[in-house]
């Protein structure tokens, strides 16, 4: 096998070298941030530096940041800790949202994969109980960016709160707590070049209390007990800093977007029957949800793996289960389409060779399956 090609950044990204270096340094240090001696204070300082770095990425008050073990815990904390008696979630949310709030009302999405704002308005108007709406910023499967700021205006007009799961978006597109109008925001480190095992819940109103899930220690302003994952938090901070710098320079994003656009353009040119889901909608610059009609997503993923190209079909969470995508189903896509979709997602270390390797393997598969493949290179 030649160089392995990794195009599954939405399920997990390699840690950036600067992040790894900072974490290794931190791992070797013996301090517990709750200790008052020099070692403890050094660990505390590292955690607070990371808090400022992450706050900088999303324009938050550092005091509003609650570090968690990742996006899933942050989502659970938001939904269960907010103290709102009524929960509404979009039907394309990540399983960590849907499963944390099985009783929640579902807000439908349109065929374009975008939350139905009219329906949201109606649902909120139907009941006056204090509500929290959870709406993701970018979908993990399609990359489609939701109209969160518009939703926020509707939500706030009804006196409800907005929780926004920005796990897939933070570090990839500009995320501003203020501009989004989100009251609570979730971020995950390992989707932006940081380590798995670290994430955060960010409160726009930094003093807001949360009913904690984990009890037993004053850490994180009594909102999340447990010795801080210092190295993980350091990694999250550095990753946020780097992602913010890249976004400001518009360098990597341009690079990733250019690669993704090239991938889609050539894919559609090579296989004229193929399609890109959400092509017309605002999307993350790194994600492509590609349909190869008549070829099961699972088959595509396995064939691509044999060719040394790692992509995915749907999300990577439901351990072992090959469930049909609830996201594509919620968009009302026909079985033929949604069963034939794969997710290709790029990131900070992706290169043009990766795109070429994918296109070659994918076109080979299409040809093998009897689809028309244009030979022009």
């Amino acid at each position: 096998m030649s160089r392995a090609v990794y195009l599954d950044y939405n399920s997990g990204a390699p840690v950036r070298p600067e992040v790894a270096a900072a974490m290794v340094e931190s791992l070797a240090e013996p301090g517990n941030p709750s200790s008052v001696h020099v070692y403890g204070r050094a660990a505390r300082a590292r955690v607070e530096t990371a808090r400022r770095q992450l706050a900088g990425l999303v324009g938050a008050d550092p005091a509003g940041i609650v570090f968690t073990s990742g996006g899933t815990e942050a989502n659970a904390l938001a939904l269960r800790g907010c103290g709102r008696s009524r929960l509404l979630v979009s039907s394309i949310e990540h399983p960590s949202i849907l499963d944390s709030a099985v009783e929640a009302e579902r807000v439908p999405v349109t065929r374009d994969g975008v939350v139905d704002l009219g329906a949201l308005d109606c649902l909120l108007a139907a009941n006056t109980r204090p509500a929290l709406v959870s709406l993701m910023l970018a979908n993990n499967e399609t990359g489609i960016v939701q109209p969160v700021a518009e939703a926020a205006r509707i939500i706030h007009a009804h006196g409800a709160w907005l929780h926004c799961d920005a796990a897939q978006a933070a570090g990839r597109i500009r995320v501003s707590l203020n501009e989004l109008g989100a009251d609570i925001l979730t971020v995950s480190a390992h989707k932006m070049g940081g380590p798995a095992g670290a994430g955060a819940l960010i409160l726009a109103e930094s003093g807001r209390t949360l009913a904690p899930i984990l009890l037993g220690g004053g850490q994180e302003r009594r909102r999340r007990a447990g010795t801080e994952n210092v190295a993980g938090i350091v990694g999250l901070g550095v990753a946020a800093q780097l992602a913010g710098d890249d976004l400001a320079a518009a360098d990597t994003t341009c690079g990733v977007r250019a690669l993704r656009d090239r991938l889609e353009r050539d894919a559609l040119r090579l296989v004229p029957d193929a399609a890109v889901i959400g092509a017309g909608a605002p999307r993350l610059p790194n994600t492509s949800c590609l349909v190869l009609p008549g070829v099961e997503g699972r088959t595509q993923v396995m064939a691509l793996d044999l060719a040394g190209v790692a992509v995915s079909a749907g999300s990577a969470c439901s351990s072992g289960k090959v469930a049909p995508s609830h996201v594509l189903a919620a968009m009302g896509l026909e079985e033929r389409v949604k069963g034939s979709a794969i997710r290709v997602s790029l990131g900070w270390s992706s290169r043009m060779e990766d795109v070429d390797a994918f296109l070659t393997a994918w076109a080979d598969l299409a040809r093998h399956k009897g689809l028309k493949v244009s030979e022009a290179a």
Partner: protein, 418 residues
């Protein structure tokens, strides 16, 4: 590949002028051998272990499962019984809330001990607010639980008994096998917080009849941010999860597993298991030297908690006739923690020492001296000198010490306000 082949104990570089680290119960530095095996999983093999579609996912899954076996091995469990969490705090929350909630229709009672870690006590208080009843057992002056009282506290309504293996402040080891036998006999689940115990004392979930066990990686030279909960499968213990969505860890704990942290945790267990015997002997030698040295040079010092049923890496000593804050200021060249309220992040004085019957003044003048893998002979000699000097200096300024030397029983004095 494990780094065990190396025969020399790794050392930890210390910056010039940095204090000697004697706070191994607060946290331990990640062993360099552990860091080494973690590294590739950050940068080269970065797959999500739940990705079923490609080799990046498979190799990550394989690594996580190997780690699970390594963790199971050190406690005599089956790998299927080990659930990864973000740390012992989460494990303790999950064990207590998870069991209480699952069995709430049949049972509504919990038994624990007043000297448990805060996260166990806070979770119990939370469950009390939900309507569960909780018995908080006292401890004897040696810090150990009275088995008769424990047995008497368990009723047919008791869902779970939670007793820590090793106390984080005084290092005493509770009689786990005896407690396990009582719980099994009385039909209550036995949960034990082993954050301070794994890798320090031999543990066997079957021999000790342990049904749930909380483990922390960063107390055994692994990384922070990862821990585990052992959940017995036969007879089966069931839990309501705390974190849902994704269905990882058999539905008991959702969220992407952090592969490097799991791998580091596993390696830390392998090293701890292999080195425990020799390391305990070495630490016992160091601790005896430390205590002997201090006792030889300082009168009126008292060890808190039983000395025999105690991990070798812990000493907790109260120094009479000194003032707590002054003592901490005086031992600035040691990184230690104390039972004094003014020097810990919490506001209360050590509730553990208070539970042993240590009076407030003596709790305030206590130091917890935690020894560990990177503690050297020189560190111990330095600590003896440094503490002795600090205490002598403080006593030289203390009128109470003068009175004591003159034979006055300080406790007999009734202080008048004026």
């Amino acid at each position: 590949m494990t780094a065990l082949g190396k025969t020399t104990r790794p050392s930890l570089p210390r910056a010039p002028g940095a204090p000697v680290y004697l706070d191994y119960q607060a946290t331990t530095p990640c062993d360099p051998r552990v860091v080494e095996v973690m590294l590739p999983w950050f940068t080269e093999k970065f797959g999500n272990p739940h990705s079923r579609n490609h080799r990046y996912g498979w190799e990550a899954e394989e690594a996580v499962e190997k780690a699970r076996e390594q963790i199971a091995d050190i406690i005599g469990a089956d790998a299927k019984e080990v659930i990864f969490t973000s740390g012992a705090t989460e494990s303790n929350n999950l064990a207590l809330k998870g069991v209480a909630h699952f069995y709430k229709d049949k049972k509504n009672h919990i038994v624990t001990v007043v000297t448990e870690h805060k996260c166990v006590l806070d979770t119990c208080r939370y469950l009390e607010q939900e309507g569960f009843s909780v018995t908080y057992l006292p401890v004897k002056t040696d810090g150990l639980v009275d088995l008769g009282e424990l047995e008497a506290a368990i009723t047919d309504k008791t869902a779970i008994v939670s007793v820590m293996a090793v106390n984080n402040e005084i290092g005493v080891i509770q009689p786990l096998a005896e407690i396990g036998a009582i719980c099994r006999k009385k039909g209550a689940f036995f949960h034990t917080d082993c954050a301070q115990a794994v890798g320090k004392i031999p543990l066997d979930v079957n021999a000790m009849n342990i049904d749930l066990m909380s483990i922390s990686a960063h107390k055994l030279y692994g990384p922070k941010g990862v821990g585990a909960l052992y959940v017995r499968r036969r007879p089966r213990v069931r839990l309501v999860p705390l974190i849902t969505g994704g269905g990882q860890e058999r539905g008991m704990r959702s969220g992407t597993l952090p592969t490097p942290l799991c791998v580091g945790f596993g390696e830390a267990c392998v090293i701890a298991k292999a080195e425990m015997g020799a390391e305990n002997e070495r630490l016992m030698g160091l601790r005896n030297r430390l205590l002997g040295g201090l006792k030889q040079r300082l009168p009126e010092i008292y060890v808190n908690g039983d000395l025999d049923h105690r991990i070798p890496g812990n000493l907790n000593i109260s120094f009479a006739f000194v003032e707590g804050e002054g003592l901490m200021m005086g031992v600035k060249e040691l990184a230690v923690s104390s039972g004094s309220a003014c020097t810990s992040a919490s506001l209360e004085p050590s509730y553990v020492l208070r539970a042993l019957g240590v009076d407030v003044e003596m709790a305030h003048t206590s130091l917890r001296l935690g020894l560990g893998r990177f503690t050297t002979d020189e560190d111990i000699e330095f600590a003896i000198d440094h503490i002795t000097q600090a205490v002598e200096h403080l006593r030289a300024m203390s009128p109470l010490w003068d009175m004591h030397l003159e034979g006055v029983d300080i406790k007999s004095i009734e202080w008048a306000e004026h």
